[in-house]
Amino acid sequence: MGETLLEIGNLHVEFKVYEGRLRVLNGVNLSVQVGERVGLVGEAGCGKTTTMKCVLKILTSPPGKITEGKILLHDKDVLTMGSQEMQRVRGHGISMIFQDPTAALNPVFTVGDQLMSVIKYGSKGSLSKKEIKKRAIGTLREVRLPDPERIFTNYPVQLSGGMRQRVCIAMALSTEPELLLADEPTTSLDVTIQDQVLRLLNELVERHGTSVIFITHSLGVVREMADRVYVMYAGNIIEGARKEELFANWLHPYTLGLMNALPKLTGGGIAEGIPGRIPEYLDPPSGCRFHPRCPRAMQQCSQSIPPVVHAADDHDVACFLYRGETDE
């Protein structure tokens, strides 16, 4: 594939609380190619959103702190950028869509006002007010909102959840970003609306050639939304592969547990799931953070951090079970 757009290397994040330090991110490695849709999947509290906040540099600090690592956007480290440069990145480079479209929109301004201000500050040249409005209505039409002229004058409360999320998508894409961070954008929506929004999002990013990091807790959603999938557990990326490869041949015991625990449309009952729960970040397990819950844990799992193994073509897994295969 082509050129690398974003590269996160060995990212460590800590949160300082009364009890001590929460070591939330424990060396996250992730890369996004230009025009690629990357899915980041994991259960609640595994550090997906924290990773994204670091990319946009909106991590609340204190208590949060990036202790190690780099985030390269076009080979330039986001973490060392000044606030003005960062502002430019947020304006043109990276946009974000949040889980809760209600909280992401300001209830006292109309959809049109909010959309126009995003276009105004995001556009490179100066545009006349008429042009901005025309463009705003154009983007509303692009996200297939019925009657965009009316929606333009509506307040967010007058719209349904699905329509609000479409407005958020319109806002995020109106600045023509290179990279779109979508943080569980369909989790609060009903399944039929989720389906519509996912199809729309796929169509738009393809048309604009936008790269995407799509965060979700649902393996089913990530299968529809990503070219490449990273599975995250307790602050680590534990498996990453091309979508087709991952869903045909998942390797990590955690991924396997998740797949089994998922109720299937074909029936056959539900497996027992994974025993225990995500570890406390105050005192996380040594070595592989999954080893206390892992059915195939070995002695070395608690002693050292498993290496990233290149298990197959474009398929990496961080697990001792597959170490033999790298030596070949």
């Binding site: 259960e43 609640a44 349904s160 699905g162 329509m163 009903d190 399944v191 039929t192 609306i193 989720q194 389906d195 519509q196 996912l198 199809r199 807790h217 649902s218 393996l219 089913g220 959603v221 299968r223 529809e224 869903f247 547990g257 998740l258 797949m259 089994n260 625990a261 998922l262 109720p263 299937k264 449309l265 074909t266 029936g267 056959g268 009952g269 539900i270 497996a271 027992e272 799931g273 994974i274 025993p275 729960r277």
Partner: protein
């Protein structure tokens, strides 16, 4: 044939608001047989939770009847006999707010025992330990406060509380929708085990059809306050009839190619659920239906038994109705 533990007949629940009358549940009829799990599936705004709350008596019905083991219980919980409250329990959706964070787990689990005068204080404490063990939590959790527990553990406590009085019917209102899949699996398996051991009947409210495929005996689909389709689980997934069911099935994100095969092909989701204040005339789904024709917006369809035990509420199925069918409605 099993006996019916719960029968709901032509249940209506309207709410009067400043924007107009919300027709949350409109002439809904169904029944739950002893020992079965009836999955009541719908999207937000379909009225499925209102059905649950009306059955346990948190709302009083606008009209219609609810019968528990043949006895009419269509009234709010404050007017129901105590023994009845012992037999019908509910597990709520959000484990975050279903347990009072100012009380200990022991106090929470003892409440139903105290209310129904089950044992003295030592017996009760033993029973609390027993209940915790049942849901696979260590006994010293009884001294903890709910906010020291994870979401899954809290839901297990909520389940233990619902089971404390040995109920017969448990209403499960999206018990796992706020939890991760690995924890969902554990809780669902636990619920299925209790059903077996304690001969429980479940009314399982959810939006997750994949889950219902694995859990329920029969599935009912709700849309805008009406039940659109009811069928035994196998038939429901192998041969769905109602256009809304098909749309719902086709929208589910799945992980396996075999699952893709179950989804009806060439159907995509369109439109949004209308507000229950302004319910479209005729069949409420006609605004989003692909197979809509003239009659749909004019006449309210009737429930038809298309194959044995499989009922559809749609004008596409004008099966000749025998009088017995009409009478029986869904509650067969």
């Amino acid at each position: 044939m099993n006996s019916k533990i719960l029968e709901v007949e032509k249940l209506r629940k309207f709410f009067i608001t400043s924007r107009g009358t919300v027709r949350a549940v409109d002439e809904v009829s169904f029944s739950v047989e002893e020992g079965e799990t009836l999955g009541l599936v719908g999207e937000s705004g379909s009225g499925k939770s209102t059905v649950a709350y009306t059955v346990v008596g948190l709302h009083s019905p606008t009209s219609g009847q609810i019968r528990f083991k043949g006895e009419d219980i269509s009234r709010p919980v404050s007017k129901r006999p105590k023994a009845l409250k012992q037999s019908i329990q509910i597990v709520f959706q959000d484990p975050g707010t279903s347990l009072n964070s100012r009380r200990t787990i022991q106090q929470i689990l003892e409440l139903p025992l105290k209310v129904h005068h089950l044992g003295n204080s030592r017996d009760r404490k033993e029973r609390v330990v027993e209940l915790l063990e049942r849901v696979e939590l260590p006994p010293d959790y009884m001294y903890k406060s709910p906010n020291m527990l994870g979401g899954g553990e809290r839901q297990m406590v909520a389940i233990a509380r619902a089971l404390a009085t040995n109920p017969k019917l448990v209403i499960l209102d999206e018990p796992t929708s706020a939890l991760d899949v690995s924890i969902q699996a554990k809780i669902i398996n636990m619920l299925l085990r209790f059903q077996e051991e304690m001969k429980l009947s479940y009314l399982f409210i959810t939006h997750d059809l994949s889950l219902m495929r694995n859990v329920s005996t029969r599935v009912a689909i709700m849309y805008l306050g009406k039940i659109c389709e009811v069928a035994p689980t196998m038939k429901f997934f192998s041969n769905p009839f109602h256009p809304y069911t098909k749309m719902l099935l086709s929208s589910i994100p799945v992980v396996l190619p075999e699952e893709e095969a179950v989804k009806p092909a060439k159907i995509t989701s369109e439109g949004e659920i209308p507000s229950p204040v302004n319910v479209p005339p005729g069949c409420g789904f006609h605004t989003r239906c692909r197979e809509v024709n003239g009659i749909c917006s004019q006449k309210i369809p009737e429930m038809m038994e298309v194959e044995p035990g499989h009922f559809v509420w749609c004008h596409l199925f004008p099966v000749v109705t025998t009088p017995t069918n009409l009478e029986k409605g869904v509650s067969v």
